[in-house]
Symmetry: C2
Subunit: 398 residues, 2 copies
Amino acid sequence: MEYVFSNKLASLKPSAIREIFKSLSDPSIISFAAGNPSPLSFPVEDLAELSADIFKNSAAKALQYGTTEGYGPLRDAVEERLRNKFNIDTADNETIITTGGQQGIELACKALCNEGDVVVCENPSFIGALNAFRSNGARTVGVPLASEGIDPEMLDKTLSGNPNAKILYIIPTFQNPAGVTSTAENRHMVYDIAKKHGVIIIEDNPYGELRFAGTDVPTYKSFDEENIVIYCSSFSKILSAGMRIGYVCGPREIISKMVVAKQVEDVHTNLFFQILCHRFMTERDLDGHIAGIRRLYGRKCSLMLSELDGHMPPFVRYTRPEGGLFIWCTLPGGTSSDTFVKEALKRKVAVVPGTAFNCDTEAPSDSFRLNYSMPSDEDIITGIKRISDLASEMFQAK
Amino acid sequence: MEYVFSNKLASLKPSAIREIFKSLSDPSIISFAAGNPSPLSFPVEDLAELSADIFKNSAAKALQYGTTEGYGPLRDAVEERLRNKFNIDTADNETIITTGGQQGIELACKALCNEGDVVVCENPSFIGALNAFRSNGARTVGVPLASEGIDPEMLDKTLSGNPNAKILYIIPTFQNPAGVTSTAENRHMVYDIAKKHGVIIIEDNPYGELRFAGTDVPTYKSFDEENIVIYCSSFSKILSAGMRIGYVCGPREIISKMVVAKQVEDVHTNLFFQILCHRFMTERDLDGHIAGIRRLYGRKCSLMLSELDGHMPPFVRYTRPEGGLFIWCTLPGGTSSDTFVKEALKRKVAVVPGTAFNCDTEAPSDSFRLNYSMPSDEDIITGIKRISDLASEMFQAK
């Protein structure tokens, strides 16, 4: 039988990152391609202890069906953290637990977009979110991302030119892949433009806790007087990625639609780990634990930057992140990075080509993404030397 | 701001079961409304032991990101079980892990249906699946379910009248809510009609392991020579519902589209519990454990049936299931069950009205669903007496 697929999925291809990941089964390859947190960031002993206690004292609850909105005490603890750490007024909003931060983004689009509607994104942006929008039949339109954020004027023009734009998707802090943190001034200007056009903002903040230099910038949600911001985040980068616990805080009315959509996607998120997560938050030192992760990533990022500073030819530019997991490198003179990435893989170093993050899937990219949370110090030193040598050879020759 | 929602979700309302569940916070109510497995069906000690070992020896893997398709050894173990227990030829198919059985159903619809396409269902059917189809913009069309299955002739007519039907959704064994198990003959006839119309069959089999009387009937997937069956099931009823581990086995080409869709919904299913599930399957006695659940449910079902036999007036009919979790009761003379259900709730007994399971959301129903896996023996005796008395009063008076 010849199978016929839905229009919205027929055009959706497995991401370029997935294809690169497949090549990573070769253990001789040094990977800077991951988006994974370091396994050192998992508080294994604490989780093991608390987990044993849950099996002993609350297994009948933890292994049974739960509510779609999530485990009540965890929702409360998350809201408290959002108020205290991110200055978010949770009173007019509702917070639910999602299966990873990814699900919150996908549900928001499902609730708001019809097929053919537009989601405006920073360009480049997170491939998982772009594909979530596309899988709902929405079209992604990019606004170039500069060092202080997207250009408000260009955003205004883009929204004017796309009256069926429903969502503005932004990763304002330690952006994936570009590592950019937009300024407070930029955020306020962008917010006002979104407000003017009646567009909902999805603020995706999975890396917000991972600052190891500089000072915090207020979240969009913290000054969301019009209640147009859906704030998505997760515990993937601060407790465990594999457990798939995320959360969304947003306008009650929108969240209630998202709950209906979540119910038919997976009924609810793994309840045992929701309880485990809540107990870690309330019985252990989450802030102390996160401080340790920040030190670790600060050190790894410094090492990668100093290796780049020492070896990469000066015509290759790269960001100097103050947090998060990624450095974004740009090749000289608008060169497409695809050839560079392929050559790097031949030299047993995996990086992700910028094309994987393009809003326009056919557009070229002169950039690639480096991850420093996963590789060992030794691999950082060896791998950066290899791709620096490659850059010197490829571009000095020209 | 006034929020505008997508067409496909705007019409989707929280299910009637959800509303009934909210009333269950009153502990004085006896609930026959759940779809939950008994907490006695969770192998807590085994899971606790294996879990401790995973934290000790494979935490870095279990807490890290995994692949969207699921944990390889678990996929292999599931396939082996499908071959050995359900006579399913897995060679031409692919099996992936989903976040509960629910996700498999939803992903299949997302992969195959455009907005406006039709999913043909047994009427009544599982509300979670019906809403999953609706959330993808599909329209659900019912074919009445009789004791041997849906009528092949009516199915043929329905498919002829709906050329944009893409999926036939069937729960052939211990159907939810009606408790019906269709005959082998019926299944073959239904299969041939689906084949003739080029329609994909979703075979949902979450209760297939829960037979406590009678003999097994071959799954659709076991005779799927045309490779048109997507088989969905889960561990919710045999290990733990809260862990949200399900699986789908279907044609490779369709599954690969579903993987792309799953990636943008939740990246992957909780990896720790996938590993835990695999270790339970391979290191403990899953069949022995399931035998215990069957005995428990067989005993509970017998008790509820004998109480119904003893007290319910004869003009109320009910099914005599050979497995699963539910008894389906039908009131005399086409009476709508809504009033009965409301009156029962006043007498502190919760049951689910048949309208909750209707393909046509506006249609009335003369039936309601009883669950016997959750209530205690004492509650079964007290609760059945109360609703039997209610039926006698309501209908004897007429």
